[in-house]
């Protein structure tokens, strides 16, 4: 009797790699067959949300993020993962990550890989510019370095940042950045805060850096576009997900593999750094008709053994990072991955329950863990992206953002 699991995954490298290694799983579990549905991030998110909201039951395993897990867990849409098979060692999961996947003490998703954000920079260019990157830079320094490294003639841009609209795209970066500027999305009464000085500073600085030292067309750049630019040697610095580290240091793909340095995300001395926390995790929707098989698969995909399997086949540098403490105690990994330590530190530096300088009523570092956020975040993202594209000023963008957020929040019944 064969069970078929339909697995929805995002089309990024680690997930694709997993598809190549499924033989290992099917050998262990001949009674389970796997079908992969690989989709681009936005499409995936829309598809799984649609499916789970209507109880469509098309998928047995879903790849979802730290944003969805707490909400969906609360809705009772996910199968609890507290009875994982023996030897799974759930306690090994990094506490910061596990915290984001747990609702009322119950784990609802298993992290496949985790990430924070950090500064990646070109050591050679930094040297040329006569500067030295501190381990924990300030925004002030980033600005200075970006100016020094920019050489538009040679198509080298001092800094590459996300500009593409979307709550998981530019807003992930900007929300995290805002945290370090002392800004927040909502005050404790769920009032939108885009009319504050802190947000104004955040956005003005962001636009300032990007227009002066960023690549052209930055308003359309997301993770992938920036990665491509960085790999081609066109960016001096790039502040983005820690997972990027393995790509930019991979000599097969990157032209600048041997001259990349890492630093913690910048701060403004207010006590919060501008880094985020994210994990792509595997969860079982409540509508699945094979929850047990699904759990078996998740256990395999997020286990230590899987990590070793990847290491064996593709090298340690390519194992999915950021989920287990044990990985960061593994010397082989630390040797193969020069960015490991920085990744771990970044992850640990993020505090989802207390993201901003001022107190907030929500959790989530670079997002607000309420269902309405996806819609609001994307609209706000579009305003900011439009500002980056030069279609409106920072003030206009902020007041539009403020208005639409207030509107949406009142419609959703928050105030």
């Amino acid at each position: 009797q064969e069970t078929t699991l339909t697995i929805a995954t995002v089309n990024n490298g680690d997930m694709i790699r997993m598809q190549g290694l499924t033989e290992d799983f099917t050998e262990q579990h001949p009674e389970i067959a796997l079908e992969w549905v690989t989709l681009e991030e936005n499409v995936l998110r829309q598809r799984v949300t649609q499916d789970i909201a209507t109880n469509g039951g098309q998928f047995d395993v879903m790849t979802i993020g730290t944003y969805e897990v707490p909400i969906w867990g609360q809705q009772g849409w996910l199968v609890p993962l507290d009875d994982m098979p023996e030897g799974y060692d759930a306690d090994d999961i990094l506490p910061a990550i596990a915290g984001g996947l747990t609702v009322d003490g119950t784990l609802y998703a298993a992290p496949f890989y985790g990430e924070s954000s950090m500064v990646m920079y070109r050591t050679d260019l930094m040297e040329e510019a006569g500067l030295e990157m501190p381990d924990a830079p300030t925004w002030e320094f980033i600005k200075e370095a970006a100016a020094a490294m920019t050489d538009e003639e040679a198509e080298i841009y001092g800094i590459c940042l996300r500009g593409k609209a979307g709550w998981g795209e530019n807003m992930a970066f900007l929300t995290a950045m805002a945290n370090s500027y002392g800004a927040r999305w909502f005050d404790e009464e769920w009032n939108a805060q885009f009319d504050t000085e802190a947000w104004s500073n955040t956005l003005t600085d962001y636009l300032d850096i990007m227009t002066n030292y960023g690549p052209p067309g930055a308003a359309n750049n997301g993770f992938n576009e920036n990665l491509a630019l960085f790999q081609q040697g066109k960016c001096g610095m790039w502040i983005d997900a820690t997972v990027a580290a393995s790509f930019v240091t991979n000599p097969d793909e990157s032209e600048v593999a041997d001259s990349v340095g890492f630093a913690l995300a910048p701060d403004n001395g207010l006590g919060k750094r501008g880094n985020w926390l994210w994990a792509w995790s595997l969860a079982v929707p409540a509508g699945s008709d094979a929850p047990d098989a699904a759990k078996t698969f998740i256990a395999w995909a997020t286990s230590k053994e899987y990590t070793e399997l990847v290491a064996e086949n593709e090298g340690w540098a390519n194992v999915p990072p950021g989920t287990r403490t044990s990985l960061y105690e593994n010397q082989e990994y630390l040797d193969a991955a020069p960015f490991a330590q920085m990744t771990l530190e970044s992850i640990q530096a993020a505090d989802p329950t207390n993201p901003a300088v001022d107190p907030v009523p929500y959790t989530g570092v670079q997002f607000v863990a309420i269902p309405e956020f996806a819609g609001i975040g994307t609209q706000v993202g579009q305003e900011f992206s439009a500002a980056l594209a030069g279609q409106q000023s920072a003030e206009e963008a902020l007041s539009n953002a403020q208005a639409l957020t207030e509107d949406e929040m009142s419609a959703a019944g928050y105030n």
Partner: protein
């Protein structure tokens, strides 16, 4: 106007038309060429056209990542099935409207066309829910029906315009000759309308093949066609021009080849009654 065309004039027209033709075709050609480059050459500055080391690696990579044949098969089944089903339903309807027109015929025709104006995103939820209730989400059958419904108005309209060009006399002659309605349609109307039916089928296979909203949203795996295949390439990581090109080439090649081979039929029928 049949006066001698000077060779010089003809040469000018030839150059102009080829120039514009190649310009229009260029994006496809470029995609095709890029699919045989390495990622490095794909973004080389200045761009290289023909003189690079041709490699088929991208195709291998794409095939490893996703089972192309399976998506292809689903596309073929959905495009073919929906068109076939659509034609079977549309032929009698078009016959009725063309040969037994009533006062309402034109209104009905236009109403049918107006159903195409339902914004798909607006009715996704209802359709999704209906399909869940029926338990046919992610099945080829459901997709065939949905895509058929989307194209049905176009099929009916096209067939209607061809049928109208067929002289009623001939059908009446068949009737006088003792043909039943069924025989009239099978032995007389259909063979006479073959060019029109062929071009209707072609156009609708193309539309069905390229239909991207429903095929993406109503499938997960079992019924996912090439539109879903390409959706996993819309922004992969890193340098990806070559792989994107390979996947794109694979997604459009079958329909492009079909279209080219049958362009005469397609073009002949593509008038929607626009030509008198």
């Amino acid at each position: 106007m049949a006066r001698a065309v000077t060779t010089q004039k003809k040469a000018i027209y030839t150059v102009a038309a080829w120039g514009i033709g190649l310009l229009i075709f260029f994006p496809i050609l470029w995609t095709f060429l890029t699919s045989f480059k390495t990622e490095g050459t794909a973004v080389a500055d200045p761009p290289v056209f023909l003189f690079f080391d041709w490699t088929t690696d991208n195709y291998t990579v794409v095939q490893e990542r996703s089972n192309y044949m399976r998506y292809l098969w689903n596309s073929v089944v959905i495009a073919g099935g929906s068109t076939l089903l659509g034609v079977i339903i549309a032929v009698p309807a078009a016959w009725s409207m063309a040969f037994v027109p009533g006062n309402r015929t034109k209104d009905i025709l236009l109403w049918m066309l107006s159903t195409k104006m339902l914004p798909a995103v607006g009715v996704l939820y209802p359709i999704y829910i209906v399909l869940i209730r029926l338990g046919v989400l992610d099945t080829k059958g459901a997709l065939i029906v949905v895509v058929m419904m989307i194209n049905l108005p176009i099929i009916i309209w096209m067939l209607y315009t061809y049928f109208k060009e067929i002289p009623v006399d001939i059908l009446e002659a068949a009737r006088m000759d003792g043909a039943s309605l069924r025989n009239e349609i099978i032995h007389v109307l259909t063979p006479m309308a073959i060019p029109g039916i062929a071009s209707t089928i072609l156009l609708n296979v193309i539309l069905a093949w390229n239909e991207a909203f429903w095929t993406l949203n109503l499938t997960a795996d079992d019924a996912a066609p090439l539109t879903a295949f390409i959706a996993s390439y819309s922004s992969p990581e890193g340098l990806f021009y070559a792989k994107l090109s390979a996947a794109s080439t694979m997604a459009i090649a079958p329909i492009l080849i079909l279209g080219w081979f049958s362009q005469k039929q397609l073009v002949r029928g593509l008038t929607f009654g626009a030509v008198k």
